[in-house]
Amino acid sequence: MKAQRVLAIAKKNLRSLRHDRRTIAFIVMVPLLMISLFGYTFGGEVSDVSVYIVNMDSSPANQSMAASIIADLQSRSTLDVKNIVGPEDATIASVSQARQKVLDADIWAALVFGENFTQDAAAALASLRSGSQVTPATLQVYIDGTNPNIVQAVTNDIQVSVQKVLILPPNLLVPPIVMSPQLEYGAGAEFIDFFAPGVMGLAAMMVTFMLSILSFVHERGASTLDRLLATPVTEGEVIAGYALAFGVVGLAQSVVILTAAVLLFDIQIAGNALLVLLLIFLLGVGNQGLGFLLSSVAKNEFQAVQLIPLILFPSILLAGVFWPLEAVPSFLQPVSYVLPLTYAVEGCRSVMIRGWGAGDVALQITVLLVFAVVMLLLSTFGLKRRR
């Protein structure tokens, strides 16, 4: 091995980079984007989980343990208490209203303090000292079990407050206050049930975007696109043909993932699997358009490959695939709500875990439909523009 020759090869490679400013920009930007996204999202704790509280505790406000627990919960940012009903006008009806909010997925959880909450807790405390057996006070929590991360965050936060208010050592055999969580959705759901919809959306997005951008960069480079456009085919027909092909690829992939998830991991699909496939198809069609649009930015396959992480990373980290949007730092959350994958994943989860129908995921379907249509129109327009 001769140093001169090795250096000659190395010099050639660095020199060719020198003239490719875009590649240099990518070399700097991609790692910056990755480190900041990972840094801000990976360490992120779940916060601002929206909850309702129904407080029926009849003890006077200055003695009410319920009030103390509520105050303590509000002092931290894990829960975002949207509404507190009671103690004056809280009724059984308030409980079912709050529960309905959970069922509608407007809020993640509803905390219910019963009428004799403080009394029961005090009696249980006293009996602990005397050694007799008394039923502890119950804090009923109706919680949306769609997202295990959320369930965990909510229950942990409540435990912390309960222990703080009682000033007791943790892990008492019979605590004076027990939390009784009731999962409204996803009873028996495991992490795989939560991941499967996310992974499906992510996979469909990756494959359609990558196929599309690479195919179009190739079509431009090899002049096959020129040749197509010299035939009677219209720009809209070219785009529609691409969208159809890659939409089907995205679908086929989703079927594979769904089947594997059901057979290997025994995941549950509470709703209609076809609705899931529709959401994925729309996502695939839209991403095909995005790939096309970005193919005009990339001069060659080399640059196209570098664009891929720029598009994929924000979606992987911010669209709620691996952890809930509640764990995304608030200044990045607006980005989450702009990402189509966020809606696809949310829609698929609602169908698969909550068992929702088309009407319940109308928002997600609409957003993805608009995304697909806008991307197709922009692509067609982009193809029509002659240099």
């Binding site: 090899a222 002049s223 096959t224 020129d226 040749r227 197509l228 456009l229 010299a230 035939t231 009677p232 085919v233 002659r386 240099r387």
Partner: protein, 242 residues
Amino acid sequence: MSDEAVVGKSMRKEYGKLVAVDDLDLKVQKGLLYGLIGPNGSGKTTTIKMLVGLLSFSNGEALLLGEKVPIKEKRSLIGYMPQEMAIYTEITVHENLELFADLYSMDEASFKAREKELLSMIDLTDRKDSVVSQLSGGMKHRTSLACALIHDPELLFLDEPTVGVDPELRVGFWKYFADLKVRGKTVLLTTHYMDEAVRCDVVGMMRSGKMIAEGPPRTLMQETGTSDLESAFLEYSRRDTR
């Protein structure tokens, strides 16, 4: 209908300060084999791309078979073979031909007949089901030509059809171009191999986006007192710069 298949009037294409095609006038009679010749960068490819509707005009206009460019209705009357081979290399020869036949809305029967004819012409009948990437360069070239001919167009634009084609095959190509002419088709091709352009009925000599001479090869050579087109081109260039 007029006798001209192609009429270009003051065709102009600018890229910023660079003028690729400089007020070019062009007339191609129907049924002729017209060769646009000139060195690389003289504007031949840009001219063809403007005519087939892939590039916009900075100024001027053009008519193809009487219809203003970019043509819409009559697109199936033209065929185009770009400079790069521009065929899909991951599918077979047959699948490429079928793709273009479908884009020209050919029916199954006429496609089959036409495919058979073309495959025998380009001598690829037994390689019909081979994936294009596995073919030799010459075979790919022939496939590319067949794709431009599949719908039996009236007017054919061939951009450097003989670049990278071995001499034996090149003779075959020219034979086929002459044959197209006999069948009443019009062919507009570009080449920078000036010597082979003597086989054209008319050649247009381009230099820096301008037409510096146009006429039958023999006439151009006589007028410049040269014995080949390359020398004639150099003579016209000399006169043009004067």
